[in-house]
């Protein structure tokens, strides 16, 4: 069921994404789907969380590290003690969020440069659908297209090798139809139908 901002979703306090609590009751704060008592936001911007793997863009190089754009309105930083590699402004890296302060500013670690490839951006609330249950959706796209795919929790996806065009189209389809039922079957059909077209 779709819930609009301000609509009550639970009579008890249930903290989570896309909700706020007032007088011990829980209300939706964004457009969301309410399913089995769980609120699944359909809109929103990425907020770094500890343990997330993200795809970041190096914005600025300083003597002690790098400022990184992780598709969030808050600053993120990688110390250059984390890596022997050196990065330049404009490079795309993968990294893990190890600490988030009260201003939602993230400290990242384990930065890795990507091999030559493509980065695309989707809405971050749709990342779970691209991955699928236990990675089923992602595995399916990988096997069908032969593309290496790295999905960052912040909505940025890195792709390289194989039939990239088809993989991007499939992910675009998931992004557009993330709220529909039986998406895995629809994407499977889509991949089989277009296998030859974009090869």
């Amino acid at each position: 069921m779709i819930v609009l901002p301000g609509q009550k979703v639970a009579d008890a306090a249930q903290p989570g994404q896309g909700v706020f609590i007032e007088d011990n009751k829980t209300y939706a704060s964004t457009l969301a789907i309410l399913r089995d008592g769980r609120v699944i936001p359909q809109k929103g911007q990425y907020k770094p969380l500890v343990e997330d793997f993200v795809v970041g863009l190096v914005k600025d190089v300083q003597f002690n590290g790098y400022h990184v754009d992780v598709n969030a309105p808050f600053e993120s930083f990688i110390s250059n003690r984390e890596s022997l590699e050196e990065f330049k402004a404009g490079e795309v890296v993968s990294a893990k969020v190890v600490e988030v302060n009260e201003l939602h500013e993230a400290t990242l670690s384990q930065p890795r440069k990507f091999p030559p490839g493509t980065v695309i951006e989707i809405s971050f609330v749709k990342v779970p659908r691209v991955i699928g249950r236990n990675g089923s959706m992602l595995d399916m796209i990988k096997t069908a297209t032969g593309t290496e795919i790295f999905v960052g929790k912040n909505g940025r996806i890195f792709l390289t090798g194989g039939n990239i065009k088809l993989a991007i189209k499939a992910i675009g389809k998931i992004d557009a139809e993330a709220h529909t039922q039986g998406l895995t079957d629809a994407v499977k059909e889509f991949l089989e139908k277009n296998k030859e077209n974009d090869a």
Partner: protein, 250 residues
């Protein structure tokens, strides 16, 4: 309130208003969400002959940086009337005294509506462009801006439902148009959060007694329910097919 036209009777002989409406009737309201592809969130509201488009960006970095608040996000609202929007010429495009005032009160409305504490050191931009005006553009602008904020995915406490009330020919009537606004005794724009019944905006221009003020507030609260229905319908029209959906999470 200034015009060169001579005042005219504001009620017809059968007691109805010049537009043929009863005292508590609204004009036709149409709203649409997500009309612009490039904006993060957008909406259009058509309220009678009023036409306002709103766009929302953010949260994002604040410039200049000293304006940023380390405890909460800030809102920058901009209400602008197009030079071709009114019956009289509006002169040079850009902000003027009136539009700066409205930008300020709209900012205060949304400062009490957005969960700003979730976005420290960031800013949210709300832009409202009036492309056609016929009295009550600030309430139309707030209605559009509220939908645009939700379309942008910015967490809010409630949909903001605005309505204007005013005293015309000695009577409190709902949703004034341009003639009633210009030749009436006073107007009373207001905005509600209907979930709690909170008043987010309450301005007054003209001469209205204490009893009339209360009468106007009650009439406005009732009429706001009808506006709210249109706002919810606009959101559900864009996102309605989410019903009964399956969202497998990993």
């Amino acid at each position: 309130m200034s015009t060169t036209n001579p005042p005219k009777p504001l009620f017809r002989e059968d007691g109805k208003r010049l537009s043929g409406r009863e005292d508590t009737d609204l004009r036709e309201i149409k709203m649409q969400v997500g009309i612009f592809k490039k904006a993060q969130g957008s909406a259009m509201a058509e309220w009678g002959k009023n036409k306002v488009v709103a766009g929302v960006y953010g949260p994002k970095e604040v410039f200049p940086k000293f304006l940023a608040d380390p405890y909460k996000g800030i809102i920058a609202a901009r209400y602008i009337m197009a030079p071709f929007s009114g019956a009289e010429e509006h002169g040079r495009a850009g902000p003027n005294r009136r539009s700066l005032e409205i930008s300020k009160v709209v900012r205060h409305v949304f400062e009490n509506n957005v969960l700003l504490q979730e976005f420290p050191k960031t800013g949210i931009d709300i832009q409202m462009e009036v492309i056609q005006s016929d009295g009550g553009t600030r309430v139309t602008a707030i209605a559009a801006a509220s939908l645009a904020l939700i379309d942008a995915g910015i967490p809010v406490y409630d949909i903001v439902t605005p309505i204007s009330v005013g005293k015309v020919g000695g009577k409190m009537v709902v949703d004034l148009d341009k003639d009633e606004d210009n030749f009436g005794e006073g107007d009373l724009p207001m905005a509600f959060s209907l979930r709690t019944g909170e008043l987010l905006l309450w301005q007054m221009d003209g001469l209205i007694s204490r009893d009339e003020l209360e009468d106007g507030l009650n009439k406005g609260f009732e009429a706001a329910q009808k506006v709210r229905v249109v706002q919810e319908a606009a959101l559900k029209e864009k996102y309605g097919d989410f019903n009964g959906s399956d969202t497998g999470q990993n």
